[in-house]
Amino acid sequence: MGTMNEGAGARAAAPGRRTNGAAMAATLAAGIGAAALGLFVLLNAAGVYSAPSIYPPAGGLSGRSTFAVVLWLAAWWILDQRWRERDLAPGPIVGWTVAMAAFSVIATFPPVWELF
């Protein structure tokens, strides 16, 4: 992440302008949360790890989604603490977020589970 924090695209905030760090933290955290959900789904499909059901009537979905949301919020909090006062290059962060969202969409696509 060093290039995201202090890379060539990073710039100093103009006087009175709010830094974009908090926005980038929210963006990347959403990607991380999405990727976490995809990973839990893939691990479940492969029989490697099944998140326990938090609410039995909803089955394993309740566990997978709850764990992903917890990871998303934790990632958001940590990134926000680190980045909120910084100005970051948005390109790589948005790119990683889109890539992680794409991974999650693929991972939650049922035909993919048949590969395991």
């Binding site: 302008r17 909803a58 989604s65 962060i93 969409v105 035909p111």
Partner: protein, 176 residues
């Protein structure tokens, strides 16, 4: 009673909350483009607030749809019928799995519906956060507009796909 409670909850989930979220995301995407200002231009408080509230409404509606879908509508959908029951009315998943021509509606459509909305909800929340926190500058800051636009666009595609699959499932095996 014309509609059962479960049927009404399904309509609330699909039409009111999910439909409202789709409209709000569409409105936010349109506003993001239509209300865009030149880089660094002053953003009126009214414009910034209006955009922020549309984005926040999208996120709130989407979360209500996702949580209601997972914890209120999904459990009766996936309920297992008692052993030997011949009339599967009231057990939508069992209805779908019992017929090979309808099986894909559970193994493909419903499985997608279970997970993808959570991705959209997280992305839309991030977009709503940016729209609210940066409401005084977002419309005149291209890089933030693009980040917000990417997340809203992905959410829109996912929610539209999921909504369509939901219509298919509910047409064939409605919660009654």
């Amino acid at each position: 009673m014309l509609f059962s409670t479960r049927s009404l909850l399904t309509m609330l989930h699909g039409l009111v909350l999910s439909g409202g979220a789709i409209m709000a995301i569409a409105a936010a995407l349109f506003a993001l483009r239509a209300m865009a200002l030149p880089e660094g231009a002053p953003v009126s408080e009214r414009q910034g607030n209006n955009f922020a509230w549309v984005a926040v409404a999208a996120a709130v509606l989407l979360w209500l749809a996702v949580l209601g879908g997972t914890y209120i509508v999904f459990p009766p959908y996936r309920a297992t019928p008692p052993e030997g029951l011949l009339d599967l009315t009231g057990y939508p998943r069992a209805i779908l799995l019992a017929d090979p021509s309808k099986r894909w509606l559970h193994t493909f459509a419903m499985e997608i519906k279970e997970h993808m909305p959570w991705i959209a909800a997280m992305l839309t929340t991030a977009a709503a956060f940016i729209a609210h926190r940066y409401r005084s500058t977002l419309l005149a800051e291209g890089s933030l507009r693009r980040a917000t636009g990417w997340m809203l666009s992905i959410s829109m595609v996912l929610v539209l796909c999921v909504a369509l699959l939901g219509v298919f499932v509910n047409k064939i095996a409605p919660l009654e």
